[in-house]
């Protein structure tokens, strides 16, 4: 225990009773989130495994399936998410360097807006379009004649596409919810340059969700090139 350690005697905000020092609480939160992200990797890992197996079994069908997707929207969304990672990092940086709460919120709100933009593009211009074009498995999926005998496996590709991007979108929605809570906490003045662990830990989650997309984009959209 160093002299500088913050203990219960100092009575800082957000300090839980079960810990001895504030640093210990920070470390525990960070480790907890990293472990949770490990479970998330295994969670998505099942889908990546399935994708890999079936792509190696049906390479031609996956190629045909990839042509259904619009690279344009995938690319725009990739850029949107990378920008949101930047604004998220800046929000944490602002808290760390003790900036006013307005500065922190000023980075959190663009992060949320970028996340919402991603979801809007995804649902409005991709999913809804697929629904209208009968390329959504389970909702009147139509075997196009040009696919020939590959049609069932093209459907399987689209199934993986919806499953993977859907699960990713679900994580984005949860992430935006977390950001809303963080914005509220910031506006209540809960974070200081000494206590900003919730921001940092949520940032880890946000970046993780982005990185999942960085893998999904080439696997789903770019394999046709």
């Amino acid at each position: 225990m160093s002299d500088a350690a913050i203990t219960h005697g100092d009575n800082p905000t957000g300090f839980a009773h079960q810990f001895e020092e504030l640093d210990q609480q920070h470390d525990a939160g960070r480790l907890g989130m990293w472990l949770f992200l490990a479970t998330e990797i295994l969670f998505f890992g099942g889908l990546f495994t399935g994708y890999t197996v079936y792509r190696s079994l049906h390479p031609q069908a996956f190629l045909l399936g990839s042509h259904i997707l619009e690279v344009k929207y995938g690319a725009i969304n990739t850029a949107v998410l990378i920008c949101s990672s930047f604004t998220m990092a800046m929000a944490i940086r602002s808290a760390q360097t003790g900036k006013r709460k307005g500065a922190i919120i000023g980075w959190l709100i663009p992060t949320m807006l970028l996340g919402a933009t991603f979801l809007f593009l995804k649902f409005r211009f991709e999913w809804y379009h697929d629904y209208l074009e009968h390329t959504m498995p389970g909702f009147g999926f139509y075997y196009r004649p040009e696919w020939g005998a590959h049609a069932p496996q093209v459907q399987m590709f689209m199934c993986f596409y919806f499953f993977m991007t859907g699960l990713h979108a679900l994580h984005m929605i949860v992430g935006i919810g977390i950001l809303l809570v963080l914005t509220w906490m910031t506006s209540r003045g809960r974070f200081t340059s000494q206590y900003f662990a919730p921001l940092e830990i949520s940032g880890l989650y946000w970046h993780f969700v982005d990185i999942i997309w960085i893998f999904l984009f080439p696997l789903l959209y770019l394999i046709r090139f």
């Binding site: 969670f43 890992g45 069932p152």
Partner: protein, 550 residues
């Protein structure tokens, strides 16, 4: 652990009745909103006991049915639902959570000298998630059950079964999140919450084994979660993920399923190995022989457990080369398991052994686990597995591990820490009688199944040829004895809550931080955070700890 810590953490003997975690607050709300790891452990204990009874009833009906070759009790369709219910409930709602969520929750913070787990609210949340999973499963059982077996093998589960597969899978999916959160909580707690002086190599071996099983919780459970989601999508939309007619591969389901479900076997056995280490040290008054080997063998089991899943598919179309590799890897896992058994045996050597009830369970564990482990080698060998796969030999083998070892250790652990949890002693004579009855009943139930399996009786069948009847009747008779053995502790443990003598802080004279505080412990476990100055199980060099019974 030192005598000073004992004095500091015990209130004055002449003081008023002690305030502890049980009497600090009263009322249903104080339990349902508690964040105290000890109370959450008890919430879990009640929940899994209910599930154990449900799974037990299903098993009883199966055994009754098998009294006669043509089936004595139920239609074959009902029998399918019975063994599915038995498997699903016992695996996912009793054995996987059993020791970690009850004893683990109660003991991890106490053993490492912490006030609570790292994330107490998350801990409570994980109980609520688990309870939700239990309710969904009970709903499925009550509204017609499920007939896929606990393995949900495709294409039967996705295409042909007419029962509520999706809801059953959902209950496992939900309960899985509880496992994940518990695993995260335990790992962080063990890393970050240890008391001053509690180094990694001073940790009780129970903590090492809980750490190893938490790794499996964290890395294995998400895979079964995504697998069950895929299963649900395939069943609801029929898009061909596991359907060969549409380009899917049913074997992929088996790979994904067993990638979790084989490590899950070690989730069931690793915590019980931790309990056994504590019991054998305490009742032979010796430090565990080869402490670091036992500690690292837990981690080795956790790691190797992820590399052996393919031995479930030797006869279901896996390539012969994959089979070879998985066979070798499966043999490897026997090494750390044997290291533990040899070290426990060496601990007993020249120890001053006493035969209280928990120790009887521990000794029973040693024998039954050895039989269960050695018969596993027959199933890990490619050639013998072809003959034995899908027979009662497999059933007997994994029941020796899951019931003979895991449940014995669970019972032993509950008996060992019961005085600490409740503050009361149970009647030791009854406890010893019950332990003996369970041991006899267990062997009578499952040993004949080795023979049945070797003779070729397939598992999961409601009927069998007449020449197998004698052994089946023997097995059912054993199951009745086993049931009696489980009912007796249920009665005297409940009885002890009100009428049992006051236990005092350390009724067994055991070493370990949890015995240095009052029984039941105060809400924050210790009046003052202990400072650890010695290694675990320091029975030989330190003076004999006083048996403190108030």
């Amino acid at each position: 652990m030192s005598t000073t810590a004992t004095v500091e953490n015990l209130p004055n003997a002449s003081a008023e009745p002690q305030v502890n975690y049980l009497n600090a607050r009263y009322g249903v709300k104080s339990w349902l909103l508690t964040v105290d790891h000890k109370r959450i452990g008890l919430l879990y204990l009640c929940t899994i006991t209910v599930m154990f009874v449900v799974g037990g009833i299903a098993a009883t009906m199966m055994r009754i049915n098998l009294l006669e070759p043509q089936g004595a009790l139920v239609e074959p369709e009902t029998y399918n639902k019975l063994f599915s219910t038995h498997g699903l409930v016992m695996v996912f709602f009793f054995l996987v959570p059993s020791i970690p969520v009850t004893l683990g929750n109660f003991l991890i913070p106490m053993m490492i000298g912490a006030r609570d787990v790292a994330f107490p609210r998350l801990n409570l949340l994980s109980w609520y998630i688990f309870a939700t999973g239990c309710l969904i499963m009970l709903y499925v059982v009550c509204t017609g059950g499920v007939d896929t077996g606990w393995t949900f093998y495709t294409p039967f589960s996705t295409t042909y079964s007419t029962t509520d597969v999706v809801l059953a899978a959902l209950s496992i999916f939900v309960a899985g999140f509880s496992s994940i959160l518990t695993g995260v909580n335990f790992i962080v707690t063990i890393h970050k919450m240890r008391a001053p002086g509690m180094t990694w190599f001073r940790l009780p071996l129970f903590i090492w084994s809980m750490y190893a099983s938490a790794i499996i919780f964290v890395l294995g459970t998400p895979v079964i979660a995504i697998t069950l989601l895929l299963l649900g999508v395939e069943r609801l939309l029929h898009v061909g993920i596991f359907d060969p007619a549409l380009g899917g591969d049913p074997l992929l389901f088996q790979h994904l399923f067993w990638f979790y479900s084989h490590p899950a076997v070690y989730i069931m056995i690793l915590p019980s190995m931790g309990v056994i280490s504590e019991l054998i040290a305490a009742f032979s008054r010796k430090r565990i022989f080869g402490y670091s080997f036992v500690a690292f063998s837990s981690l080795a089991i956790a790691i190797i457990s992820f590399l052996v899943w393919g031995h479930h598919m030797f006869v279901s179309g896996e390539s012969i080369y994959a089979g070879l590799v998985f066979s070798v890897l499966s043999f490897l896992v026997a090494i750390p398991s044997a290291v533990k058994v040899f070290n426990w045996t060496a601990t007993l050597y020249k120890g001053s052994i006493s035969y209280e009830a928990p120790m009887l369970y521990a000794l029973g564990f040693l024998g039954l686990f050895t039989i269960g482990g050695l018969t596993g080698l027959y199933l890990a060998s490619l050639s013998t597995d072809v003959h034995l796969s899908g027979t009662y030999f497999v059933v007997a083998h994994f029941h020796y591990i899951m019931v003979g070892a895991a449940v014995m250790a669970f019972m032993g652990g509950i008996h060992f820490w019961w005085p600490k949890i409740t503050g009361h002693l149970y009647p030791d004579l009854w406890a010893r009688i019950a332990a003996a009855i369970i041991f006899i009943g267990f062997n009578l139930t499952f040993f004949p199944q080795f023979v049945l399996g070797y003779l070729g009786m397939p598992r999961r069948y409601a009927m069998y040829p007449a020449e197998f009847q004698a052994l089946n009747v023997l097995s059912t008779a054993g199951a009745s004895v086993l049931a009696v053995g489980y009912i007796i502790p249920f009665i005297y443990l409940i009885w002890s809550l009100k009428y049992g003598p006051v236990a005092g802080p350390n009724p067994f004279g055991a070493k370990g931080l949890e015995w240095t505080t009052q029984s039941p412990p105060p809400t924050e476990n210790y009046l003052k955070i202990p400072i650890v100055t010695e290694e675990a199980y320091n029975y030989e060099t330190a003076p004999e700890p006083e048996v403190v019974r108030v």
